[in-house]
Symmetry: C2
């Protein structure tokens, strides 16, 4: 269970045995059932999550409809905005499937930073990289057509296409479920029609 | 010049006189002309920026057209992805107007973290907050229509609408300049037509 967390951290810094033990002692691993809700709109939580196994998603309720905006899977970290601002959350966080999370709080962070100041450097490096990478993802979303976004998703996060319901995937791509369905149909047809069919289309 | 930087930092931690002096000693303030290019596609830079005065933007060259994806104005911080990954930049960074920046490098950061470990905590807090706030901005972009995005921009970053050319604003909103122009026309007409005209429409 800890291995995936150690592997993630060791992309940034090599851990000593003592530090590994401290992480094991501090880490609160929790298992959640499919569809379990981790955070509701209007709630405040101070918890941050590292996904050990499974998938969580963020969604908003807009005019009675769920709008999914983000997914986090194995080896990804996520701290809801309310855990930083203390303001009520504008979105829900729920488990797409049975999920194991390492759950952190400011208290756990504080204890670990005091004992191992390197852990604070680690969190700084992880966050700085996330800011820059997330901006690049946002840029790509802005500069791509829905079809390009879908093809990029097939190429870079194919696991999501397989494990996530279509209606959640549609709003994640910024389109309606009907548009996604039509687009899949078009791409399927293109794949059957011509010799230019490639493994992406074949994967549809 | 330092005041805007101190004000920004003191939203997170109160600074001692010694720390303020260290920031003055370390800060490299540079002035750039309008349209000066800070980073080109394909280049690698290790510089990060804090905007003291002015406005910088990120843009991609796609099929010979500029696609602007982000603006940073007074009191905002920005580190290009290449400064973290060491990989060539996929985008350009340029000054929209004459701009004064505090320019940082990993070396400057390291010196300051060693002398004032609290500065590393500060950078961690700033980055963690930015990750969560930027995600909320991305969520809003995904779940809004282009018209809603434009009205939100008028409400929350009206300065941008005033200081930035329309074609840059259009791709920032994820639409074509023609769509933005038509949308402004529609909103203008709606404002003239009905008693429901409000200050937002009046501002168009």
């Amino acid at each position: 269970m800890e291995k995936i967390l150690f592997d993630y951290i060791e992309k940034y810094i090599a851990l000593s045995e003592e530090e590994k033990q401290a992480i094991i002692d501090l880490s609160v691993f929790k298992t959640f059932e499919q569809d379990a809700i981790l955070l509701r709109e209007g709630q405040v939580s101070n918890e941050g999550f590292f996904v050990v196994k499974g998938c969580i998603r963020c969604y908003y309720m807009i005019d009675g409809e769920e709008k999914t905006t983000a997914f986090y899977t194995e080896g990804e970290i996520f701290a809801p905005l309310c855990s930083i601002t203390g303001q009520p959350s504008e979105y829900f966080v729920a488990c797409v499937e049975e999920t194991i999370l390492a759950v952190s709080t400011p208290e756990i962070e504080q204890i670990s930073f005091e004992k191992f100041p390197r852990f604070e450097s680690l969190c700084r490096m992880i966050s700085e990289e996330k800011v820059a990478r997330n901006q690049a993802t946002f840029d790509e979303f802005k500069t791509s057509s829905p079809e390009q976004r879908y093809l990029t998703l097939l190429e870079t996060r194919y696991d999501l296409v397989q494990r996530v319901p279509q209606y959640q995937l549609a709003s994640f791509l910024g389109i309606t479920p009907q548009s996604l369905s039509r687009m899949r149909g078009r791409l399927q047809k293109r794949s059957e029609d011509g010799p230019e069919a490639n493994k992406l289309y074949a994967a549809l």
